[in-house]
């Protein structure tokens, strides 16, 4: 059982807290993604977990053992570095077998594991080559093979796909996902790419400025972001946020956005008379010419054809709203558009703090 438990981890660089009081539990065999913008402390947190940094506060448990001050080699982990860090002076074979050799495995065991890992990652044809003789994608595979050959209980990956071109990245994403399912190691995967996070993770920890903003499974993070930061970071386009005011009307509770009313759930009653932020995803909005049913009158600003669909940027009062429509939807800039949001999929957030309102 390789469960990972982080308790109140703090890591300071000078006066800056790169990781600021992070607590997180990663279950045995789970694929956990650390997602966040560049500089939010993902790498630092991963390095604390690897033992390459000693946290200034908090404790790290792996399999219920406190490893906070253990050196990396006592943690039974393997890691894929962002720039691969495969050894230029060693052949692919020796690179993949490096960890096993350091742990004094027999030659036969090393060979067996190297062959297995190399075959899994399809680098078995290059075992005699040096890294300089490989392409970027092949080096990346060697870096993963080196980690996998160790049969690690915990596998750490720091943006392993970020140095690949878009096409290769997509291909490796699917391959890695399958591979990691097969191995079943507890995996912590760092990325700033939300598509990678959504498509690969069992759960996602969204980080911001050294803190965790939300931990949930990918769909939950997508549909129910804990705050405007998460909603604005995840999804392409990001979630729309409109500011309105909760009002009592003859038909029940409503939210008034730029003078237009949309029905609001009854348990929002305590917010009556107050400002509220409404979150809505572009694909949960239906566009129409005529005013039928509850909706918002908008004006089209920009039309972006994206191949599979159109991305429209519309305006209501001083606020903007992104909508997707089928490619053949007849629309042109400056025309008025009636937008009908799926009322069940509206999310209600505090206008001040931007955090999701608890409506229970």
């Amino acid at each position: 059982m390789a469960q990972i438990r982080l308790e109140n981890i703090i890591k300071l660089f000078g006066k800056v807290a790169a990781v600021n009081n992070v607590s997180l539990t990663i279950n045995d065999g789970e694929f956990m993604v650390l997602l966040g913008p560049s500089g939010c402390g993902k790498t630092t947190l991963l390095r604390c977990l690897a033992g390459l940094e000693i946290p200034d506060g908090g404790n790290i448990f792996i399999s219920d053992q406190n490893v906070t001050e253990f050196s990396p080699r006592r943690r039974n982990i393997a890691m894929v570095f962002q720039n691969y860090a495969i050894f230029p002076h060693l052949t692919v074979y020796d690179n993949i077998g490096f960890g096993l050799k350091m742990k004094k495995f027999s030659k036969a065991d090393i060979e067996k594991n190297v062959k297995r890992a190399a075959t899994l990652l399809e680098v078995d044809k290059y075992l005699e080559r040096h890294p300089a003789q490989l392409s970027g994608g092949q080096r990346q595979r060697v870096a993963v093979a080196r980690a996998i050959a160790m049969n690690p209980a915990v596998l750490l990956m720091d943006e392993p796909l970020s140095n690949l071109d878009a096409l290769l990245r997509m291909q490796m994403r699917a391959e890695l996902k399958r591979l990691l399912q097969e191995i079943g190691a507890t995996t912590v995967y760092v990325t700033h790419d939300q598509v990678e996070a959504l498509s690969m993770g069992d759960r996602i920890s969204v980080m911001k400025s050294g803190q965790i903003a939300q931990v949930d499974d990918p769909m939950k993070v997508y549909t129910d972001p804990a705050n405007t930061f998460v909603g604005g970071f995840i999804g392409s386009p990001p979630m729309n946020f409109l500011v309105g005011e909760v009002v009592q009307s003859e038909g029940g509770l409503a939210v008034e956005i730029e003078g237009q009313r949309l029905p609001a759930p009854a348990n929002l009653a305590r917010m009556a008379g107050q400002k509220v932020t409404v979150g809505l995803r572009a694909e949960n909005i239906e566009a129409g010419e005529v005013k039928d049913g509850p909706g918002l009158p908008t004006q089209v600003m920009v039309v972006e054809p994206l191949g599979s669909h159109l991305l429209l940027t519309t305006r209501i009062g001083g606020q903007s709203l992104k909508v997707v429509t089928p490619v053949d939807y007849p629309v042109s800039p400056d025309q008025p558009l009636w937008l009908r949001p799926d009322l069940n999929k509206l999310r209600w957030l505090d206008a001040q703090s931007g955090t999701l309102l608890n409506l229970n």
Partner: protein
């Protein structure tokens, strides 16, 4: 004529099915770039005038008799000289002992500096101080330490360990003289090896040692399997430089050991300055050159880093 047009022309060339019309390769060759050669020119001129020319000249002198004819007499004189055997022996022995010692010491020092610990930078300055002192001055400093009235003897007498001063630098004790020279040279010239190795260590990205650490390597294993192999180019440079300089050791030995410990470079000086036989002096110089060349060749051959092993 612009290069851009050529592929178009090539496409227009009529060809049979399956036949690819090739562009005119001669015209597409990249323009010859003179810049690197121009940049190398000053250094090349300098080396040619101040090194290559004197080298050729000494080569000629070594095989010239007083009438200007060809002769092996100088070699004969050199080899039959009573000091020749000792000079060769001491020089080689000196190199065999001092070079490995210096490399190991310098490596330890460089590793200490490269730890990045608080006082590491301070050590770099302390350890490089001897580099600023000329070898003759260093020889005189160590002479004042080892001589009969030198610091070591004074300390030994003060401590009551001996009544009469010990004669470290005498004909009776050539081994002690040799050891004194080795110690002085270690003090004087280890830093240059260290500086080269520190520079080499600093360009090894931390990620490699970190990766080794994560993959279970102990500090020794990291040194042996990662740091040293990646340091090989620097080690090679340090070894070549250090060995060549060791073949030329002279002033320090001269100051410390005088005639007790003859070395090749010292003999060359003696034959030139005292005996005033330029021919034999040039022959010694030639011998030193050949030994240095042979050595460099061996280092290049056996410490070679293949292109594909570089990052």
């Amino acid at each position: 004529m612009s290069l851009k047009q050529e592929p178009e022309q090539a496409l227009k060339t009529p060809g049979q099915a399956g036949e690819v019309a090739l562009p005119d390769f001669k015209r597409r060759r990249r323009r010859f770039n003179y810049t690197p050669f121009l940049l190398l020119l000053p250094a090349t001129l300098f080396l040619a005038i101040f090194f290559l020319y004197p080298m050729l000249q000494s080569f000629i002198i070594a095989f010239q008799d007083s009438q200007g004819g060809f002769t092996f007499d100088n070699i004969d004189t050199m080899v039959k000289d009573t000091n020749f055997g000792d000079a060769l022996k001491y020089t080689l022995l000196f190199i065999v002992i001092i070079v490995p010692l210096q490399v190991v010491l310098a490596l330890i020092m460089a590793l200490v500096i490269n730890t990045g610990l608080k006082w590491a930078g301070f050590f770099l300055y302390i350890w490089t101080i001897p580099l600023a002192i000329s070898d003759l001055a260093a020889g005189i400093v160590w002479y004042s330490i080892f001589t009969n009235h030198g610091y070591i003897n004074q300390i030994l007498i003060q401590l009551g360990l001996t009544q009469t001063p010990i004669d470290f630098l005498s004909f009776e004790n050539p081994t002690l003289v040799f050891v004194a020279v080795v110690i002085a040279e270690l003090w004087r010239a280890t830093a240059i090896v260290m500086v080269i190795l520190v520079a080499g260590l600093q360009v090894i990205p931390r990620a490699y040692t970190e990766a080794a650490e994560v993959f279970g390597a102990s500090p020794w294993q990291r040194l042996w399997h990662v740091t040293l192999p990646m340091l090989k180019p620097s080690l090679q440079v340090a070894l070549i430089l250090r060995t060549i300089l060791a073949f030329q050791t002279f002033a320090l030995v001269f100051a410390l050991a005088g005639r007790i410990m003859p070395v090749l470079a010292g003999e060359a000086y003696k034959w030139y300055n005292d005996v005033r036989n330029v021919g034999v002096a040039a022959t010694y110089a030639l011998l030193i050159l050949l030994l240095s060349l042979a050595n460099t060749f061996i280092y290049l051959r056996f410490l070679n880093t293949k292109a594909e092993e570089l990052a």
